[in-house]
Every structure is written in structure tokens, then in C-alpha cells.
Assembly symmetry: C2
């Protein structure tokens, strides 16, 4: 057997500690599988004396990851620091420049600098593996980079953020509001103290940007992503979705269209019968539509120290085995420019929830606006507030919820129609609009 | 770029024809991804003049696959002939002996000769890839061989036969019987004229034998698989399952226990809330429980020319990229002996359907038998036939269905208890017994 492969781990948080322990626990098996022993020889963290459940005394210690990347005698540099620039970027560049293979779980870094880092890795004949950066323990990077090599992908989509999925699942299961769910998620450690990065969709967008590049062979373009978070989702939407045969999920979707590739992150109505509708709680799921394979769906834990460590170690084992896959599926120079499809050209069905003043002709006015915009309605649900059920309590000033489900139309048509509806003075607030995704 | 990789395809049925067409259609992309062009230069089939939708005139033609394996100037030999011995085995051995890489979709061959072929491949420094052999387009072989490298697997299970899943799905959806569904499946091409290999569980067992080896690092042992098909599943079982919160699926399960590894194929009660319960029709799904990653589930098409070709081509692209993974995840010499856990030691819950003579004390007799065997009952459902609802029509000789759901017990306990029940003369026929799988 060849000499042991030396690994340096920068960042000893939950994931880093789990990686060190995993390599110690299953080292024999990993050596048998990859034909080479793998040993952690160097680590980097701020506090050397913190108890992490394992002994660091025999390891080379660094407190500066860039210094470790520049000086440590390692074959693989594992970056688990996080952040899209600063120390994380510097240390990854420094390691690659020395021809040291890099394994990272850093989605933000990849989303921002992926193409440039891929070029640097290639120029130095080093691997840059990042299975853990997208959907944690789910092997979607390998599936797209390798297993889908013979497919033309038309769409990749998924539930890529466990925090949002946890909140939406609880809102539905318990009929409670967004704020209450978020507070619970924070209490249980499923959401950060500042949750905006998750609930506004940024985290999903970073992961989607990477998936798009792998699926379509295009340069990563994380600035060109349409993004809507889940903060506007009301219990009324969750209930209406349920009645109409849908569930609401925050999806990241990248889809080939006639005018380019759509990248979008938004709350989405998915049919209850679809595989993606049934992904509950903190689980992640990713689906890929390929012209030969059809649709495959991968489900698993999207976060957590051990699940993420599993992916980091799989990346290490690939390098130990001598497998060198192009960072973004093909050489960086072969990646096509990302051609953005404008969101206003998006085609699909829409769920619209309106608060309509209960006056004669109000509904006819709305129906006319939709008809004039060329939008056909698949279903209309009008719900009266309880106060209206009691005879004599009729009050035209209390707006009533009306739900519309449209047939396929364009984003520009629906937005313009809703502008016109609002200008007519028949609705009391900005309409809620949620896109419907066509799924098998 | 390196010289083009020359591929010979033996067997030009649905899958073989699709492989040739895929490589032609997406050749440019595959070359960019693997750093090497891939060209089909030789094919083997019986009839040269059959119209397969592509031109074979420029390809080296063989009518004997063994001759092709021995003589063709190819780098990769693709075996799509089928069968666990004869020409398929001979040509694979002949190719490996020449150091030619082999890609195959042949589960029967792998299940029977996998360890021996793995050793032959290693001795000749050749790859033997077989992603398409298990669950068609789903990348489960790669996931187990590579992505799970850092995990100790406790269980792998799945729906591995589309024919059985199609039949069970239709029985449930339409309330029709097994025979009628099978006839329909045959008419639609989802079942063979002789369906026994599918419906008796043999096909699932072959795939399971391969998964077991990859998951647990043991030698393939396809003769040590407990096997029950779906022919005994009655509409009454499907209905009762539905009422009790289960669905019935034919699962292949390999599970580590204290006494060894269980390999079993049988109709299984799975909770409706589980991911596997929602896999309908001809789809396949495979789930793996790893100590670090937790549970991941892969869903996709388990058969079909194009989906299978997608996996065959992914295997070819891996070879083109220079990736050489040990055939069974680690060198054949490192595989442990398979230690069989006896089925009588299996632990789990059970669904029991009895036809009970409706006489005073009959039910008490059954309850006593179960109690004496140490079996606790989680639920008991007694259903009266419609004729009993009419007053005055009571007839003790018409047996009534009684459903029992047990708490966890052992196979030996349940079997002995049912023997005793039968000896008491209180049931009119052999009890139906379906295992319940604990799933998250």
C-alpha cells in the first residue's frame, strides 16, 4: 500500500471535529476502499485547549488557516472555516497554489469564486472537492459530476435549506404562524440567531448556483438568481394549498428554457403526489431531470456535523483512490457562459390569494382583469369569513379571501394583471402570489 | 486530449441500442467531462441487418460475443447479453483476461460470479463497472462504493423490481386482484411472459446480493437470501394495510444483526409516512442507513433502455476519466466472509391475517396462543362479513377475517404461535403473515 495520505483540517467546529473522529474510527475501512491510509496530521483552530472529544497533542497545530495552507506538510487541505472571502478564500487559494488537494464544505465560497478556484486547481493539478457544500450528506455533486455524465439535464431542483423546510413543515402540521415556528426553530438550534440568510433564500441560492453549473455546464452565476424567501407565507396560504392538493416548499430551481437558464429560489406550490412534497422537517432533497435517465431524486440529511463529515470524507477517499474529477464537471475553460432567462419570461401556473372587498361586481372586475391579460383560471375558491355566516352581519368593508389557481401563463402577464386588479380598488392589500411547479 | 477510447458493445437490444445512440448524441459532452473522446468501434448481435435506428456499417461486426471479447481492438467491453453463465460469463472473463475494462448491466452474472470476476479484474488491472445492474438509472452502486466510504452501514433496503411494484401499486389504487394486475402488466410490457423471476423475488434477490456486498464489505452470497414473492398478497391484505397505516411493498433488505447479516426479500408492511411507501408504479428506490450520514434514499427509474443506458455510459465515462474503483468497493481479497443471520432469529413486528370460525371462545383461544408464545399485540381488527350485519343471518361456519399487528417479536416465536393456532381448529386456512419493517 502507498504511503499514508496526510490530511490537514482547518476549522474544528461540529463538522471538523466529526471529520477527525470519522477518519480515526473508520480509517481501516477507508484504507481498504481507497488503497491508501488516510491520516490527519495537522489541524487549525483558534483555541488549542478546548475539549473536542479527541487528543490534538500529536497533531501539528496552527491557529492561522492561511499559514497552515502555506506551510503544513499535507496532501489534502480540508477547509471548514466558512465565508465567501477572507481567510477561507485565502487558505484555499494558498493550498491549491502549492498543488495541495482541497476539500471544502463552503457553499458561499464556491458560489462566489467557484470558476476561478476551479481554474486554479486545474493549473496546479489539484483536486477541489465539495460534496458537503450542497445538501450535506446527499451525494448530489458526485451524481451530477459523474453519474449524469451521459445526460442532457433540463432541470435540477430541490429543497436545499433544512431551516426553511422545518418551518414550513411545522406551519402546516400544527397550523401555527411563521414567527412562532421561526422562534421554535431558533430555540431548537435549527435556525441561526440571525436567520435572514436561511429564510430569505440566500443559502438555497448559493447551493443552486453550484448545481446549475454542474447540471448545465455553465459558469457559476450566483448573482443572477431570482430570490424570494418564506417570510411572506401565511397560514392562510398553507391551508389553501392543502385544500387545493398542494404543499408549499422553498425550492431552488434551475431550468433550461428557450431564452436561457432560469435560476430561481421561491416558495413553490408542489403537488401533494410529488416526491418533493413529502420531504419533511430538516431533510433535503434534490431532483434532476435528464434526457436519458429521466428523473432521479436523492433524499437525505442536508446538514449536521456527522452527515456533512460523511461527504467530506467521501471526497477525501476519492482523492486517496486517485480519482481526479474536473471541479465543475469539465475543465473550467470549457464551461459555457451562463445565459440568464429573465424571470418575467417565466412560464407556469400561479396561486393568487386576494383580499377582496365584498361589494357587488368586485369579483367580476377581478375576473375581467385576468381575462383581459389572457390568463385562464383553473380554479377559484371564495371563502367567507365566519362573521358573514350570521344573517344580518353582512359587512362589505370586511375583505374576503379569494384564491385563484391559474393555468400556465407568464410571469409578466400575471404581474401586470395583478397591478390592474390593485388599481381598481377592489382588493384591500397586495395580492399574495406563489408559483406552481410542474412535477411528475 | 488523449486518444479516443474504443468501446465494443455486445448485445444490441433496447439497452445496447440506447448506449450506442447516447454515445453518439452526447459524445462531445462526455469527452469534455472525462478528458477523452469515447467511440463505439465494435458491436455484437445476432442479426446484422435488423433496423436499430443507427448505421452499423462502419463498425466492426461480431456475431459471437466471446470472439469479440477475444479479438476486438477495444478498450472497454460492454456486456449487455444477460444470463448468469454461458456466453455472458465467457465473454466477460475473456475481456478481463485481456486487461480490457468491462461494463455490464448483468445482475445475475454479478450475483453469481461477482467475487471471482472482481478478482480476475484486479489481476488484470481492469475495471469492472456495473451501475446499471442494480436499480437501473439510480446511482446506488457509486453511492455505496464511493459516497458511503466513510460509513459503517447498518441496513440497505429498497424496492428493486418495477414489475412487482407496479402490480402492488395497481392492486392498491384500483382494488383489483393479483392475477388481473399481472395480466395487465404483461399486456403493457411491464412483466415478462414468464413472470416468475420477477414476482417470486429472484430478480430482487440478485440485486440485493450485490448491494449487501457493497454495503457490508462481505463476499456476495446470493444463495443465502430468504425469499418470498408477492403471489400470496390478497386484496384483503392491501385493504387492511391501508386501514392500519401501512402500504405493502416487495422489499429487498440487508441488515446487520448480532448474529450476522440478514438478507431477505419479502412483501413488507411499510408505514405510509416513510419515503419508501410513496414509491409508486415501476419506480425503484434504495435506502441506506450509515452511522455518519444517517439515512439517504435514492429514487428513480429501475429499468428501461434509456435509463439503463445512462448508467452504462456513466460507467464508461468513469473509465475514460481514469477512475478505477475496486469492483466490490475494496480488493476482493479483503472482503469478509458473509455471515448469515438465520431468518428464524429475525426480529420485527408482524401483520397476521386469520380466517377465524366465529364460535364462542375462538378468539380467546388465539389470544392465548399468542400470549403463551410471549407475543404482545399492538392492534386487533375484527371485520365481520356483510352477511353478519343482517340480524338472524349469523352463521358460525363462515370464517371471519381477524387482523393482528404484533409488537416486535422473533420469526421463530410467530411461526410457532401460528402452528399452535392452526392446531386448535379455530382457523379455516393457513394464516397470512407479512413482516413489518421499522422505518423512519
Amino acid at each position: 500500500m502507498a504511503e499514508a495520505l496526510k490530511v490537514g483540517v482547518a476549522g474544528l467546529g461540529t463538522v471538523g471535529a466529526s471529520v477527525v473522529q470519522l477518519l480515526a474510527k473508520h480509517g481501516g475501512q477507508i484504507a481498504r476502499k481507497s488503497g491508501r491510509a488516510v491520516t490527519v496530521t495537522a489541524v487549525c483552530a483558534r483555541d488549542r485547549n478546548k475539549d473536542r472529544g479527541f487528543d490534538v497533542s500529536s497533531l501539528e497545530w496552527f491557529s492561522d488557516p492561511v499559514e497552515m495552507a502555506e506551510k503544513a506538510e499535507v496532501d489534502i487541505f480540508v477547509e471548514l472555516i466558512g465565508g465567501d472571502n477572507g481567510a477561507a478564500e485565502e487558505c484555499v487559494r494558498a493550498a491549491l497554489q502549492r498543488g495541495i488537494h482541497v476539500v471544502t464544505a463552503n457553499k458561499a465560497l464556491l458560489a462566489k469564486h467557484g470558476v476561478s478556484l476551479a481554474g486554479l486547481a486545474e493549473a496546479n493539478n489539484a483536486c477541489l472537492n465539495y460534496e458537503a457544500a450542497v445538501a450535506g450528506g446527499i451525494p448530489i455533486v458526485k451524481t451530477l459530476r459523474e453519474s449524469m455524465a451521459g445526460n442532457d439535464v433540463s432541470r435540477v431542483y430541490g429543497i436545499l435549506n433544512g431551516t426553511c423546510n422545518y418551518i414550513l413543515t411545522r406551519m402546516e402540521a400544527e397550523g401555527i404562524g411563521f414567527e412562532e415556528c421561526l422562534a421554535d426553530a431558533q430555540r431548537l438550534g435549527y435556525a441561526e440567531a440571525d436567520p435572514s440568510f436561511d429564510i430569505e433564500g440566500n443559502d438555497t441560492a448559493h447551493k443552486l448556483a453550484i448545481l446549475t453549473s454542474l447540471a448545465f455546464g455553465t459558469k457559476i452565476s450566483s448573482d443572477d438568481i431570482y430570490m424570494e424567501g418564506i417570510t411572506s407565507i401565511a397560514s392562510a396560504d398553507i391551508e389553501a394549498a392543502d385544500e387545493l392538493g398542494f404543499r408549499i416548499k422553498l425550492l431552488g430551481v434551475a431550468q433550461r428554457t428557450e431564452t436561457g437558464i432560469e435560476q430561481r429560489v421561491h416558495p413553490t406550490m408542489v403537488p401533494k403526489s410529488s416526491a418533493i412534497a413529502r420531504i419533511d422537517g430538516v431533510l433535503n432533497a434534490v431532483a434532476v431531470d435528464g434526457d436519458y435517465v429521466g428523473e432521479i431524486v436523492l433524499v437525505g440529511p442536508g446538514a449536521g456535523g456527522d452527515a456533512t463529515a460523511s461527504s467530506v470524507v467521501a471526497d477525501i477517499a476519492d482523492i486517496a483512490r486517485g480519482d481526479q474529477t474536473p471541479v465543475l464537471g469539465m475543465p473550467a475553460a470549457d464551461l459555457k457562459e451562463y445565459q440568464r432567462a429573465r424571470m418575467r419570461m417565466h412560464e407556469g401556473g400561479y396561486y393568487i390569494r386576494l383580499s377582496v372587498y365584498d361589494r357587488p361586481g368586485a369579483f367580476a372586475e377581478i375576473a375581467r382583469c385576468m381575462g383581459e391579460a389572457g390568463i385562464s383560471l383553473e380554479s377559484i375558491v371564495q371563502k367567507r369569513h365566519a362573521t358573514h355566516h350570521a344573517p344580518g352581519k353582512y359587512n362589505a368593508d370586511v375583505p374576503q379571501p379569494v384564491i385563484l389557481i391559474t393555468y400556465e401563463t407568464t410571469e409578466v402577464a400575471i404581474k401586470e394583471a395583478l397591478e390592474v386588479v390593485m388599481s381598481k380598488g377592489v382588493v384591500s392589500e397586495k395580492p399574495q402570489m406563489i408559483r406552481i411547479e410542474k412535477l411528475s
